[in-house]
């Protein structure tokens, strides 16, 4: 094999070329893929993330009585609580897909979700075109927001 000057490659040059090719294959391509994965957020996950944020805002900001909210997420996504976290997860495969789960902690108030009995194995509420009510109550001196599906 010849270089641009028409001379044979030295061992040093060959090693450099091999290293460069290996670096591209082993580092740059996976890095590029990771970056793409990091930047690409599926639409239902985007929606779930924003829904969780809005539910959390409502939980923390409501002053008294009841409030309502319309959820506009996708089918098979459910809202539920997990150790004082509000979570939304994709249950398309029957159980929560950990890669498609978004949670947000509620530091100020306790949360209680009364499930709509459509969720597979959790006490959750469907995100797909559902209206929910928030009711602020008190239990053992602690403020708790009860979230349930609004009855028709």
């Amino acid at each position: 094999m010849m270089n641009k000057k028409g001379q044979a490659y030295t061992n040093e040059e060959l090693v450099k070329i091999v290293l460069a090719v290996l670096a591209i294959i082993a580092i740059l391509i996976p890095l590029g893929y990771k970056m793409y994965q990091g930047l690409y957020v599926p639409q239902d996950v985007l929606q779930a993330r924003e829904t969780v944020k809005q539910v959390s805002s409502m939980v923390n900001s409501m002053k008294s009585g009841t409030q309502t909210m319309v959820l506009t997420g996708q089918k098979n996504w459910f809202l539920y609580t997990e150790t004082n976290q509000i979570c939304a997860c994709d249950f398309t495969k029957g159980t929560c897909d950990p890669n498609r789960k978004r949670c947000l902690e509620s530091k100020e108030r306790g949360i209680e979700i009364i499930g709509d009995k459509t969720s597979p194995d959790i006490n959750g509420i469907s995100l797909y075109l559902t209206e929910i009510t928030f009711t602020l109550t008190e239990k053992d001196g602690k403020e708790i927001v009860k979230i349930e599906k609004k009855s028709a």
Binding site: Q43, S57, T66, E131
Partner: protein, 379 residues
């Protein structure tokens, strides 16, 4: 030896200066990005880009479309004369539009309709993938909605002006800021009349101005040739309700949703994919008879002299009489009619079409459920 040392020092200094300049440059860039990150303009542009990308991927192959998310975040607008609408949008970024008269209210809403129409591709982009709907569990076709904005009207400060607002008249008579055509003309692609129809050659590039200028004579001819299949939308059929007639939650301000709805019928999809074939083509109906020419229609729905609820404005793209239809085409048509019939051509219309419409509806579950099978916007 000395010279070499000097050279090395020079190189080191140059490198250090270069690195410092690079860091300053990156810092300025990050500051700039941070400043624009949450602006309304940024959200609009992000959405527009994602719409273009989705449409382009659909053009390439329908299977890619589902990989391209529509990154359209619903704007939260507060129309007020001094309030803040926080009860409607707790903890969210609210864009406040301060108004004084009912006309200002109409303008604020009309601007949102126009912005939504523009952002979503003016009815010219196919965003619905046939592969997407079944994956989401909605069968072969559905109405895909993007809620461009939720508009809360601060009832405390607006009082009676709210019900006096007449968005339709405003859009029909007032010009778009900085332009010499009305909102209606802009959305109806140049024709403020009931239904505007173009012949296929006008939508496929033979006439470079066709997408903007609708030929009224062609509309009349197409209606005449359609043998009653196409009609102008009767004004009296439209739902007329004032905002005060609608029940909203007591602890919230009345809220409207400006949403873009797209239903892709099989024929529309095929026609858009093969639009070059449309020009001058005569299509065959399933029965083998020569059908009317393919028609693209843009509808502008006429409303009541109050803030119209139900349908304020719509635009439809219709392609009819496409050959080799199947049962599913009929089914798709039914769905299309269900969602877009109110802005289309009655029961005698061609069986296979899709539609694009911007609608203003009271923001509640009932309306969203009746209009949409999938909501694609980020809430």
């Amino acid at each position: 030896m000395k010279n070499k040392n000097f050279e090395k020092k020079g190189i080191a200094q140059t490198t250090v200066v270069g690195v410092i300049l690079l860091i300053i440059g990156v810092g300025i860039l990050l500051m700039f990005l941070y400043r624009i990150q949450y602006s309304e303009l940024a959200d609009t542009e992000v959405c527009r880009e994602s719409v273009t990308l989705r449409a382009a991927s659909l053009g390439a192959t329908y299977k890619f479309a589902e990989l391209v998310p529509l990154n359209c975040k619903t704007s939260k607008i507060c129309i007020t004369n001094g309030g803040d609408c926080k009860s409607n949008f707790p903890g969210e970024t609210i864009l406040t539009k301060k108004v004084k008269t009912s006309n200002d209210i109409s303008k604020a809403i009309a601007d949102q309709v126009l912005s939504c129409w523009d952002m979503m591709g003016q009815g010219r982009m196919t965003l619905v993938s046939e592969g997407l709907a079944p994956k989401l569990g909605f069968g072969s076709v559905g109405a895909h909605c993007t809620i461009c904005s939720r508009i809360a009207l601060d009832k405390e400060t607006l009082k009676t002006d709210m019900d006096k607002a007449d968005v339709y008249s405003y859009m029909a008579t007032r010009t778009v800021p900085g332009k010499d055509f009305t909102y209606a003309q802009y959305i109806a692609q140049g024709s403020p009349t009931g239904v505007a129809i173009t012949r296929p050659e006008q939508i496929t590039g033979d006439n470079p101005n066709s997408l903007y200028g609708v030929d009224k004579a062609a509309v009349d001819t197409a209606i005449a040739e359609s043998g009653g299949k196409l009609t102008r939308i009767p004004e009296e059929d439209k739902t007329k309700k004032a905002l005060s007639d609608i029940k909203f939650p007591e602890n919230k301000d009345p809220e409207l949703a400006v949403m873009y709805v797209q239903v892709a019928g099989k024929g529309l999809r095929a026609a858009l994919a093969n639009s070059a074939l449309l020009a001058g083509t005569v299509f065959l109906s399933p029965a083998g008879k020569v059908a009317t020419v393919a028609i693209s229609a843009v509808a502008f729905v006429v409303g009541a002299p109050v803030l119209l609820v139900g349908v304020v404005i719509g635009a439809i793209a219709v392609v009819g009489g496409v050959s080799a239809e199947t049962y599913f085409a009929y089914r798709n048509y039914d769905v299309s009619m269900g969602y877009c019939g109110d802005v289309s051509f009655g029961t005698g219309a061609d069986k296979d079409f899709g539609c694009n419409a911007v609608r203003i509806v009271p923001y509640n579950l009932e309306n969203l459920k009746s209009q949409c099978t999938v909501i694609e916007s980020v809430p």
